[in-house]
Amino acid sequence: MSRSLVVPAIALLFTVIVLVDFVMGIGVLWYLYAVLQILMVPFELMTTATAPMVAVLGGWKWIVYLALLCVGGYGFRAVGQRLTKNRPFYRDMPFSVALGYVFAATLIVVVLLNYSRSFSTLGGMPDSYFFFRSALHFLVLSSVAAVLFRQFGCMVGTASTRKLFRQMPATASFGILIIICYAIAAIFAPMIAPHGQETIFPRANIIPLVPEAMGGDPAFPLGTDQIGRDILSRLIYGAQNTVGIAFVTTVLAFFLGVTGGFLAAVLRGWVDQVLSRLVDVLMAIPALIFSLLLITAASSLFSGTGLTWAMIVIIAVIDSTRVFRLSRAVGMNIVVMDYIEASRLRGEGVGYMIFREILPNATAPLLAEFGLRFCFVFLTIAALSFLGLGIQPPLADWGTMVKDLGQFVNYAAFLPQYAMLPLLPAGAIALLTVAVNFVVDWMLQRSSGLKE
C-alpha cells in the first residue's frame, strides 16, 4: 500500500522543474550563441571542440525562425482585428504582445509534437524522450492534484479557511499539498520506508524504474546505491533527517534573530548600535563561505553526529543575522506607530511592548520570512552535505546522496533511467523549496495585495 503511493509521487518529483528550467536554459543558450556570433567570434575561430554546439544550433536558422515569428505575430493581430471588427483587445494590442501569443502557440505545438513522438521511440533504446515525457506527465498531474486539492479545501473546514482556499492560486495549493506530503513522509518515515536507511543489500547498483531484464528489481523500485542500500528507503529517511535538521536550525535562527531584532527596535540607543554593527560584520562574509570556514574550525573539535550539531548551531547563528535585519526593520515600522508611543507614554515595560503590541502585528511578515529562511537554510545544508561537509554519515540525507550518486548522470547516454539516481534526491530538495516558496510568495502577495 505504502509503496504504491510513494513511488509515483517520488518518481515524478522533479520533472516540473526539469521542463521549466530546460526551456529557460535553451533560451539562454540561443541568446548567448547570437551574442557570440554578432559580437566577437567569426566562424573560423571555432575549433573542432566546439563543433557539436554549432551543429545543433545550426548556422543562421534561428534568424529564419525569428523572422517567421514576426510575420506570424503581425498576421495574427491583423486577422484578429479584421475578424472581430476592431475589438479593443486586438485594436490596442502592441506588436510585442502579438509576438508573445504566437511564440506561446508555437511552443505548445512543439511540446505536443515531441510528446507524441516520444511514444514512437518507446521500444527503441535508449529512450531519449524519457525525461521530457515524465516532466510533462508530472506537470499535468501536479496541476490536476493542485486544483483538486484546492477544491477539497473549498469544501471542508471553517468559513475563513474556505475563503482562503477560494482565493488561492493553484501554485500555492500545490505548495501546501507538497508540504503536507513531506511532513507525512518525515514524521512516519520508519513506517513508510520499506527498508532501513543503513541496511546494506548484497546487490548494489540496481537501476531504478526499469524491468528486471534491463537491470532493475521490483523489490527495489528506485534501485540501490553503490554499496547496496535501498534508495527509496534512504529518500524517505532523508526527509526526516534533512528536513528535520533544517527545521530545527531555522527555529533556532528565528529565536535568536527575532529576539535581537525586536530588542534593538524597542530599546534603540546603544543596544541597537551594538547588535546592528555585530550583524553588519557577520553579514559581510557570504553565508555559505562563512559556514564552511566555521565548520573547518569546528571539525578539529567534533566529528560524526557531533559535527552535525555544530553545523546546526553555526548555520543558525549565521542565518539569525538575516532574521535580525528583517525583524528589526519590521519592528521599527511598528515602533513608530502612535499606539506604541501611547503605550510608551503609559509607562509600559519592554516585555509588554514586544509581546503584546509588536509581535501580534508582525506575524505575517515573520511567517513569510520563516518560509524563506527555511528554504535558505535547507539549501545551505544541502549544499554543505553535497560538498561532504554537512550532515555526517550514517544519517541518510539528500545532499550526501546527490554527491554519492552524481557520476551516474553521465551514464544516461546508455540508459536514461541512470540519471534518476542523483536527480531524485536533488529533485526532492528542489521540490520542497519550490513548494515552500510558492506558499510564501502567495502569502507575501496577499499581505501586499491589500494596498494595490
Binding site: 521549466v20 525525461f131 560584520v281 563561505i289 570556514l293 539549501l379
Partner: protein
C-alpha cells in the same frame, strides 16, 4: 565638499574598515579554537619534538595578536604564505631545502578562472534578466508574467547542483552539445574556453537571472504605483516611454543594487557549481582545503570571497548614491 563626494569617501572608508574587521573575524574563527594544527600537519605518529619544531616554525607559539598582525602584514605585502599540504609534502621529503610553492602561485590562475566564470555568467545573465524583468513589470498579471514568476521561483528554489545535473543531462549527455566537465586550461583559445565553461555558466545564469528578474520586476512595479507615473500616463505618454523615461531612471538605484547583490551571490554559488563541474577555480580549491583542513588556504580563499562580496556591495552603494538626483543636485 560636494555631498556626493563626501558620502562616497565615507563609504569607501567604511568599506576598508569592514575589510579589516572581516579579516580579523576570519583569522579569529580558525585560530581561537583549540586543536593543534601542527599535529594535523605531521599526522598522528609525529614525535612531540617535531610537533614543537613545526609550531615554532609557523609561529603557533606566538600570542594571538602578534600572529594576526604578522598575517595581516604579510597579506598586505602580497605574501599569502605556504599551504599545509605543501609543508606536509616538504616534511615528508625530509628537508628544508625543498622549494615550497607559495599560495599566491596556487591561487593566481584559479582566481582568474573564477573571475572568468563569474564574468561570463554576468554577461549572459544581466541583460536577459533586466529585459525580462521590465517586460514582466509591463505586462504584469498576464500569462507571461505568471509563467515567468513560476519559472523564476522554481529556479531560485532549486539547489545549484540540481540545476547543474539537469542541464548536464540534457545539454551534455542526451544532446551532447556541451562538455560535461568544465576542465579549462590556461592555453585554451577564448572561444573554446567560453564553450568549455558554458555549462557551469548556464547553471549560475539560471539562478542569478531568476533573482535579478524578480527584483527588477518588483522594483519597477513599486515605482509604477507612484503618482508621477500616473501623471506621465495622463500626459499621453506611451506605456513603453513611461517605463523607459519615467520609471527606469528612478529604478536605477534598486536595479544597481539587484545586480551587485547577485554578482555577490555568484561568489557563493560558484563554490558548488565549480565542484559539480570540476572547474579549476577558487571554489574548488576552497572546498578541498576545507576537507583537508588546510588552514592557510582556507583563510585566504575565505578572505577573497568576502572581499569580493564587500567590494561589490560597496560598489552598489556608491553607484546608487551617484544615481540619486537628490544627492547629485543638493538644494
Amino acid at each position: 565638499m560636494h555631498p556626493v563626494l563626501r558620502i562616497t569617501l565615507q563609504r569607501l572608508a567604511l568599506g576598508v574598515l569592514t575589510l579589516v574587521i572581516v579579516s580579523f573575524v576570519i583569522f579569529a574563527a580558525v585560530n581561537l579554537l583549540p586543536g593543534d594544527f601542527a599535529q594535523a600537519i605531521l599526522g598522528q605518529g609525529a614525535t612531540p619534538e617535531a610537533v614543537e619544531a613545526i609550531r615554532n616554525d609557523i609561529g603557533l607559539n606566538d600570542p594571538f595578536w602578534i600572529r594576526y598582525f604578522d598575517w595581516l602584514g604579510a597579506l598586505v605585502s602580497g605574501d599569502l604564505g605556504v599551504s599545509y599540504s605543501q609543508m606536509m609534502f616538504a616534511t615528508g621529503m625530509g628537508g628544508e631545502d625543498i622549494q615550497l610553492i607559495p599560495i599566491t602561485e596556487q591561487i593566481a590562475p584559479r582566481f582568474y578562472n573564477t573571475m572568468f566564470l563569474a564574468g561570463l555568467t554576468a554577461i549572459i545573465a544581466v541583460p536577459i534578466s533586466l529585459a525580462v524583468g521590465v517586460l514582466a513589470a509591463l505586462y504584469r498579471g498576464s500569462a507571461f508574467d505568471r509563467i515567468a514568476n513560476i519559472t523564476t521561483l522554481s529556479s531560485i528554489s532549486s539547489p545549484e547542483f540540481f540545476l547543474a545535473y539537469v542541464l548536464t543531462l540534457f545539454l551534455a549527455v542526451q544532446w551532447q552539445i556541451l562538455p560535461s566537465l568544465a576542465s579549462v586550461t590556461p592555453e585554451m583559445p577564448l572561444f573554446e574556453r567560453i564553450y568549455t565553461a558554458l555549462l557551469p555558466a548556464l547553471t549560475l545564469t539560471l539562478v542569478v537571472t531568476a533573482h535579478m528578474m524578480r527584483m527588477t520586476r518588483a522594483a519597477i512595479i513599486n515605482l509604477l504605483a507612484s503618482p508621477y507615473i500616473e501623471m506621465a500616463r495622463l500626459k499621453g505618454i506611451s506605456p513603453i516611454q513611461v517605463i523607459v523615461k519615467h520609471a527606469l531612471p528612478n529604478a536605477l538605484a534598486p536595479i544597481i543594487n539587484v545586480v551587485a547583490l547577485n554578482l555577490a551571490y555568484l561568489v557563493t554559488g560558484v563554490v558548488v557549481v565549480e565542484v559539480v563541474f570540476a572547474y579549476p577555480g577558487i571554489g574548488n580549491l576552497f572546498v578541498d582545503a576545507v576537507r583537508s583542513r588546510d588552514i592557510p588556504v582556507v583563510q585566504i580563499c575565505c578572505l577573497i570571497f568576502a572581499s569580493a562580496y564587500v567590494l561589490l556591495n560597496l560598489t552598489a552603494d556608491i553607484l546608487s548614491i551617484l544615481s540619486n538626483p537628490r544627492l547629485r543636485h543638493p538644494k
